[in-house]
Amino acid sequence: MSEVANLYQERLDRVFKAFNLEQPDRVPVLGTYGSWCAEFAGYTDAETNWDIEKGGKAMMKVASEIPLDMVHNYFGRPGGVYQALGSKAFHYLSDSTVAQYSDEHAQIMTADEYPEFAKDPFRFLVEKILPRKYAELAKPSPIKDLAFAKGAMKFGMFGAQSGGIVGALATQYGMPMLFDGVILHPMDWIADFFRGIKNAFMDIRRCPNDFLAAIEAFTPLIIRLGMGQALMTPPRQYPKVLELPIHLPTMLKTSDFDKFFWPAFKTIMEFFASQNINVVPIYEGDWSRYYDHLQELPAKKSMGWFEYGDPKVIKEKLKDIMCISGLYPATLLQFGTKEECIAKAKELVDILAPGGGYVFGTDKELITGKAENIIAVNKFVMEYGVYK
């Protein structure tokens, strides 16, 4: 094998050993730089989203200049697809900010529509949600059909281009990419895209049974979506990996979590485990109330990406269940000195590395941060985190 191919294999082995709760040669370092890569390469987030070529170049710069074992995602949002469909959901507030989703534009379904949604979610999505979400799809035929075809074509092109980026990262820099797809919990999906987050909180109080029925009906569709994405990438030696960002649960009281979040989440996690597909839930917020719940998940089939929490407690409670990542404050890379950044990395490695099952990563996807801090921290983890 060539040197690059060796490097690629070595990095994959390292990360998946950790996934399997074993001890690799050293602590693997995960780059969460899908958005930050734009800043690093001197582009804006918008530029990389509209011009996939630039997005690819930015990722290549990350792969060649930042000490890393794996990048989590190429976080390009295909601007052309959204434009073709007439979406108003994403906003660029200025050249310097990232695309954002507004809660106001997420409110495209009314609470009294839950029963119809729950009866046939797929039909409801196609016939009701899509035309509301995408202005072009609300127009009469053949305009809507043309818009759909254009959107599909743009999406296909985006798929081919991002596939090319993944290939280039692998063959030129030996850099693997972690995620093969992304899914959301049905509750987060409904809140983020159909009802708005604020309305979801109202629904939990005002029409809890309808809300729950919609979540239950939506779950099989989400599993299908995840499988579709996993099967789209070629077969390979290690499990495919899905990303699962989680938004609402830590904002709920525990009884609501038990009712609306946990059953569907467990179903989803158990299903993908049964298919030998690994899932990386991004546990946003403070999950300390729920560590006992997380002990019920299938062992060695997920990597918990934690935003917050006491690393000692997380390690203690979950070390036999899941690989642990995250917890490193992204804001420190933005505001801290090099010494402060390294000290924090040492603290986390000291607690989380022993015994394996740990991948070094930031608490959230990086949007902004000083390159010199990032390089210093990653280098430190690679040298200090060697298993003897």
Binding site: H91, S94, T97, V98, Q100, K198, F201, L252, T331, T368
Partner: protein
Amino acid sequence: MVDSKVLIQAMSDLDEDVLNKAIDEVLSKDDNAAEVQEIVKACQQGMTLVGERYDSGEYFIGDLVFAGEVLQNVMDKLKPALGTGSSAKGGKVVLATVFGDLHDIGKNIFRSMVEAAGFEVIDLGINVPVNQIVDKVKEVNPDIVGLSGVLTLALDSMKETVHGLAEAGLRNSVKVIIGGVPVNEVVCKSIGADGFSTNAAEGVKICQRWVG
């Protein structure tokens, strides 16, 4: 006559039905000014209890958002029957989600809680440029400026806003509190704010200390 205890409890339990029934009953009467005031007071006290239940780990953000909605509905219903300048003001807050950020859930929770605590709030909304905040501070002379944001990018905007206030010579006449997921002590220092919180109820307490 309204039963304050029942209303305080209903607000604290986020029981809209009980509140609405009582309000409708009072509004149907002719000479209701005193009772309307009584309801407002009870809801404010109920909101304090909501904050306490949040602090104790019984309620979470979803409950606070709902509490804000319930309180807003109550006030909307009572507004026509409320005289002007009827409730005592605790202080004045200019509030904004800073430039570059659209997230306003945290800001809105803080607004409803700080309003319930008796503050007058001028909410400038989302994605608010520095000069708009500075101009508003000049205009209304608040006690406190509250800056909110979720993205780490918002931290830069917060810093620019504090800088903008200083350049306009206003920094010493107001306290600045920052709130949102990414704020912490390091960030607060670097931005030059007077206080920070990721917890709306605690944020209200900080504001009360400042004007107290």
